[in-house]
Point group: C3
Chain length 488, copies 3
C-alpha cells in the first residue's frame, strides 16, 4: 500500500488530455498489427468456406439449414446489439459524457473483438494441420463475449480515463480473458454458457481493481457533472432495455443446439422478469417518499441475467430462475444504495456505473448458483444422455460426477476472481503511467476533453426576444455568441 | 350512472402519491406468489428439457434444427422488443412523463408475463398426466402477447394512475385476457394469429372503459404537461419504428410453420407500408398549412398492423393487405383529429395515447376483415390441405365450413369487446378505491410524483463561477435560478 | 451548363412550403395506384402460399424449416431496422430537422418498398404462366435494398427539399434502380450481394447529382441550423450503431444459403471493426487538440460495410476484409475533412450528410475490390463447386472464367455510376420545377416548414419562480409565453 501510494504520487502530474498523437498512433499501429496477424493466422472454417458444399457431402449433412450459421446467427445479432447499443447507451446516463460513453464503447469493442478472435482462436480454434485459426459464427459470438468483459471494466472507469487508456485496458483485458477462459472451460472443465464467471465476475473485478489503482481523491471537483439529466436518463433506458430484452440470447448464444439454447433462453427470460419487480420494490422502499430511482431501474433490473448465466443451460427449473432473479434484484439495488457509497468512501473504489452491483456481485452469485445446480444434477432429472450432453461428460471427463462438477465450478469462480483482481492490479499500474492523456480531476465526466462538442442552444443565455419570427433561443444566441455569421 | 357518480364522489379525496409501502408490498408479495406457483406448476416442455435427445429419437426427428426454438426464436425476440422498447418508448412522448412511460411499462410487462405464463398455461399447456404446465418458446411469445393487452390499456391511463394501480390493472387484465383467449380460440375456435381481437380489441376497450371509470373532470389543471417537447417526440419515434418494423414478426410469431409464418409476415409488411402513406395524407390535409402532426405519424402509422392481425395468416392477398392498411391509416388519423376530442368532451373518456384510434377501432376492423376473409375462403384459393391447415379444420372441427368459420370469427369479436368493457368496469371500480396512491389532477403527467427526477441543467443554479473551465450554460443558469442545494 | 443555369433562374421563385394539397394528393393517388397494380400483378409465391403443403411434397422437401423464410427472415428484420431506424436516426443529427430526418425517411421508405416490389418483380419474379409476380421473403429484402438507394440520395438533400419532392425522387429512383439492377445482375451477370455498386454507388451519385442540380447559392442563410446539438448527436448514434451492427445481415441477406451467408456476415463484421479504428485515428489526427468529431464517428465508421458489399460473398479472406475496412475508414474520414468542403465550395454540391464519403466513394471502392477479388478467384482457393456456386457459373455462363467475371464486375460499376449521374440529372431537372413546395434558403433545415413543432421548454425565458409546486420552466412558460396559439 505504501509503495502503491508513493507510485501514485509520482504519477500525479499536470494533466494534458491532448491525444492527437497517441490515439492515432495506437489505433493505426494496432490495426496494422491486426491485419498482419489475421493474414498469417485467420481463415474461414469449413462452414463459412466455399468448400462447404464438399464438406456437406463428406459429413452427410442433408441441408444448408444445418450450417451452424442458422442455429446461431439470430442470437449473434442480439449479442452484437447488447455490446454496442446495450453497453453503449447504458453509459450515456451522465449529463455531459454521452459521447464518451457510447463512442469509446464503440471504439474499444471494435478493437477488442479483433484481438479476441486471435487470442481465443489460438486457444480454441487452431487447426494443427496448417497452423491456422478457422473462424465461423461461434467465434464471432465468443469475440463479442470477450469484449463484454472489457466493457464492464470500462463501466467502473467511465469518465475518468482517456481513450488511449481504454485501448490499453482492452488489449490486456482481452488477453487475460482468453487465458482465464481457457483455464476455466478447458482445463477445469467448468461450464459457463452465459459467462457469469468468465465474463461478469472477471470483468467486474478487473474494472473495480483498476478503479482502485486509479483512485482520484479530488474527484469531487467534477461532481457537478456526475449526475444525469432528464434526457440522458431516457437515453440510458435504451441501453437498459436492449440489454434486458436480448439477455436470453446472450445466455443461449453458445449453449448446445436444441434443448440447450431453448432452456437457457427460458431461464434467462424468467430470471430477468423477476428481478424487475424486486428492484422496483427495494428502490421504492429505501427512498424517501417511495420514489423510484432511475439508477436502480437502469442497472439492477439486469442483475438477474448476470446471475443466471452459468446455470442457464442447466435444469435450474423455472422457479429456480425466478428465485435467482428475486435475490439479485434485492441485492443489486441494496448494493447501489449502500455498498457503492461505502466502497467509494472507505475502500477508495470509485465505480462510476456501479459495476460491482450489476456485474461483480451477481457474477459471483451466478458462479455459486451454477456450482450448486451442477452438484445437484442427477440422472433422474436430466436423463442419462441429457446429463452427458449438458455437462459434456465425454472424452477425458466421461467418468465425471455431478458432485465433482460442482467443485470444478466453484474452482472456476475462484480463477475468475483471481484473474480479475490480479489483472486489474497489473493493468492499473500500467495505466497510472503519466503518458496516457487522462483528464484532470476537474474535467472528468466531461466530453469537452476528447470530443468536439457542439454549441448547444442551452449554452446560451437570456434577453428579451423581439423578433417574433425567430425562436427565442436563437435570438439569445445571436446576442451573446458573437460568432460573426451566427444565424440570419 | 347515478350510482357510479356518487361512488366517484366518495372516492374523491386528498391525494397522496407516496407509494413507499404499497408498491414494495405488492411487488414482493406478488413476486413471491409467482415463485411458489411456478414451483408447483411450471416445468420445461419436451423441447426445452434435457430429455429432448430422447424425445427426438422417439418422435423420429432428424435434427436439432427441428426444435420449435429455431422456428420461433427470432420472432420472439422481435416481439419482446415491441413490448419493452416499442410500447415503452411510444409512451415517452410527454414532456415530463418519459420515466413513467418507459419505466412503468417495464414494470408491468415484467410482472404480467409471469402471471400470463401461469394463466395461459392452465388453459393451454397443462399436462394432465402430472398436473404441470410445460413451457417452451411459444409460451413465452404468448405471454408477451398477453402482456400487450395490458400495455395497450395503460396507454389510455398514461400519466393518471399510480404504479400500484397499474399492477392491479395488469393482474386482472392478464386474468381476463386468458379467459377471453380460451373462449375465442378454443371454444369458439376462431383464428387470431396477430391478435386483432384477442389483444387489441380487448386491450383497447379495457383501457377506454377504465379511463371512463377514472374520469377526471379537472384534468386541465395539468394540461401544461400534456404535450410533448421536441426531443420527447424523437424518443417516441423510437417506439413507433420498432413497433412498425417488428409488427410482421408479431403477426407471424405463432402462425403455422412454413407458409403460415411466411404469409403473415408479408401481409403485415404490406399493410403497414400502405398505412404510412394514408396517415401522412390525412395528417397534412386536415392541418392548417398542411403541416404534419407528430401524433399521427407516431401512432396512426401502426394501425394497419393491428387491423391485419386476424387475417394475416389467411389468403388475404397482397392487395387486400394494402387496402386494409389504406383504410386504417385514414380512419385512425381521423380518429386522432375528431374522435378523441369528441370522446373527451362528450363521453368523459380521457385517452392519453389515443388507444381508441390505434388499437380499439383498428382491432374491430381487423376482426371484421378476418371474419369476411374466413367466410370467403375456398378450396380453389387455398387448396384443400391448405384450407384445413390454415383454419385448423381437424378433430371436432373437421366438418367446419369457411362460411361458418366467418360467423365464429364475428362471434369472437363480440366476446373480445364484451370482455374489454366488462373487465374495464369491474377493474375501474376497484381502481377508484382511495388506497392506490394515484396523483391529484394537477400532478398528472408529471414524473415528480413517483420518480427521483434529476435536476436538469435548465433548472439549475448555484453561484457565479468565474472559472473558465465550466461550460457557459452552467454559469448563466446559476445567475437565474437560485436553487440552494443543486448538485452536491 | 448555361442552359442549366438559366433553367435554374427560371425556377427561382417565391417559395411556398404549404403542401396541404400536393402531399395528400400524391400520397393518396400513388397509394391507390399501388392497390390497383398489386391487385393485378402480385400474388404469394409457392413458399408463402397455402399450397406450400403440396409444393413441399412435390419438391420432396422434408421439413417446413426448409422454407426460405427460415433462412432469410432474421436477416430481413435486421435490414428492415437499418432502413427505418438506421437511416432514419442517422439523419436526426441536425438540431431542428430530426422530425424531417426520421419522418420523411419513414414516408419514402414505406412508399418506395411497394413500388420496388412491382418494379423488381417485373424483372425478376414474373411468372410467365399467369403473368403474376410471385413474392416471398427474398422480394421483401430486395425491396428494402432498393429503397436504400433512395434513402442514400435523400442524405444529400436532407433539409433542402419538400416531402413531395422526396416522393418524386423515390418514384424515379426506384424505377431507375430496378432497371440498373437488372442490367448489372442479369445482363452483365455481375455479383453484388451487399450492393456496393447497385445500391451505394448508384444511390450516392444519384443524390449528389440531384444536389448539384438543386444548388442553393444562398444556403448560408440557414447555416445556423446546419449543425447539431448535444442530444441530436446522441440520437444520430442510434442510427449509426444499428446500421453498423446489422450491416453483416445486410450484406448476407440475399447471399447463397449456407456458406455464402455465413462468409458474407464474417467479412462484413471484420471490415466494419477495422473501419472504426482508422476513423478514430484520422478524426483525432486532423483536428486541433486531437479531439474526435462526432460527424466522423457517426458516418465514416460505416464505410467499411459499404466497401465490402460486393466482395462479401467471395473468398475475400478475413485479412482482406480488414484491409478494405482500414482503407475506407481513412478515406471516408478524409473525405469529410477535405472533399465535402471542396465539393461545396468549388463544385456546387451541397451534400448535407456527406453521402459522397459514406456511400459514393466507398461504393466505388467496393466495386473495384469486387472486380479484383473476382478476377483473382481460382479453383484452388474456392474448389471447383465452390467457384461455380459463388459466381453462378451455370447455364449461359457455365464457361465463364474468373478473369472475365472481373471485367464484368468492372463494367457493372460503370453502369451504376452512369445510372446515378444520368438519373440525377433527369430527376434533378424535374425537381427544379417550381411546383413542389420546397423551402426557401432561409428556412432550410427547419422542421417548422413541414411539421407542427411543439413549443419546447427551451424556447422559454427566465424569471425567478416562486411557486414551489410547479417546475420552474412551467412557471416561466406561464409568465412569458403569451403567444396565444404558439406555433406558426
Amino acid at each position: 500500500m505504501g509503495a502503491a501510494q508513493s507510485f501514485r504520487n509520482i504519477c500525479d502530474h499536470q494533466k494534458n488530455t491532448n491525444v492527437r498523437l497517441s490515439l492515432p498512433a495506437v489505433c493505426i499501429i494496432w490495426q496494422t498489427a491486426m491485419v498482419i496477424l489475421f493474414g498469417i493466422f485467420i481463415r474461414y472454417n469449413e462452414e463459412s468456406d466455399t468448400h462447404w458444399v464438399e464438406h456437406k457431402k463428406a459429413a452427410n449433412i442433408s441441408s444448408d439449414i444445418e450450417n451452424d450459421f442458422y442455429y446461431r446467427y439470430p442470437s449473434f445479432q442480439d449479442v452484437h446489439v447488447m455490446i454496442f447499443v446495450g453497453f453503449g447507451f447504458l453509459m450515456t446516463f451522465l449529463k455531459r459524457y454521452s459521447f464518451g460513453g457510447v463512442g469509446f464503447n464503440f471504439l474499444i469493442a471494435a478493437f477488442g473483438l479483433q484481438w479476441a478472435l486471435l487470442m481465443q482462436g489460438w486457444f480454441h480454434s487452431l487447426d494443427y494441420t496448417d497452423g491456422k485459426i478457422k473462424i465461423g459464427i461461434e467465434n464471432l459470438i465468443n469475440a463479442d463475449f470477450c469484449v463484454a468483459g472489457c466493457l464492464i471494466a470500462y463501466g467502473a472507469l467511465l469518465g475518468k480515463v482517456s481513450p488511449v487508456q481504454l485501448m490499453v485496458l482492452t488489449l490486456f483485458g482481452v488477453t487475460l480473458f482468453a487465458v482465464e477462459e481457457y483455464i476455466i472451460l478447458n482445463i477445469i472443465h467448468a461450464k459457463d454458457a452465459g459467462g457469469s464467471m468468465v465474463i461478469h465476475t472477471f470483468g467486474g473485478y478487473y474494472g473495480l481493481t483498476m478503479s482502485w489503482m486509479l483512485y482520484r481523491p479530488n474527484l469531487k471537483q467534477s461532481s457537478h457533472l456526475q449526475g444525469s439529466v432528464y434526457h440522458s436518463d431516457v437515453f440510458a433506458m435504451i441501453g437498459t432495455l436492449f440489454l434486458w430484452m436480448f439477455w436470453p440470447s446472450f445466455n443461449s448464444a453458445i449453449a448446445g443446439h436444441g434443448d440447450g439454447q431453448h432452456r437457457a433462453a427460458i431461464n434467462t427470460y424468467l430470471a430477468l422478469a423477476s428481478t424487475v419487480l424486486t428492484t422496483v420494490a427495494i428502490s421504492s422502499l429505501f427512498q424517501k417518499h417511495g420514489k423510484l430511482d432511475m439508477v436502480h431501474i437502469q442497472n439492477a433490473t439486469l442483475a438477474g441475467g448476470v446471475a443466471v448465466g452459468t446455470a442457464a443451460e442447466f435444469m435450474l427449473m423455472p422457479y429456480g430462475s425466478l428465485i435467482v432473479g428475486f435475490c439479485c434484484g434485492v441485492l443489486s439495488t441494496l448494493g447501489y444504495i449502500y455498498i457503492s457509497p461505502f466502497m467509494e468512501k472507505y475502500m477508495k473504489i470509485q465505480d462510476t456505473c456501479g459495476i460491482h452491483n450489476l456485474h461483480a456481485m451477481p457474477g459471483v452469485i451466478g458462479g455459486i448458483v451454477g456450482a450448486v445446480t451442477a452438484a445437484a444434477a442427477s440422472d433422474s432429472v436430466y436423463g442419462h444422455e441429457g446429463l452427458v450432453n449438458t455437462f459434456g461428460f465425454t472424452g477425458n471427463f466421461a467418468s465425471m460426477l455431478p458432485s465433482k462438477q460442482g467443485g470444478h465450478q466453484a474452482g472456476a469462480l475462484c480463477v475468475a476472481i483471481c484473474f480479475g483482481i490480479g489483472g486489474g492490479i497489473i493493468v492499473g499500474t500500467i495505466l497510472r503511467l503519466p503518458i496516457w492523456g487522462d483528464p484532470a480531476d476537474d474535467s472528468c465526466f466531461d466530453d469537452e476533453a476528447y470530443w468536439e462538442v457542439p454549441n448547444d442552444e442551452e449554452s446560451i443565455p437570456a434577453m428579451p426576444p423581439y423578433n417574433n419570427h425567430m425562436r427565442n433561443k436563437d435570438v439569445m444566441e445571436s446576442h451573446f455568441t458573437m460568432e460573426p455569421n451566427a444565424r440570419q
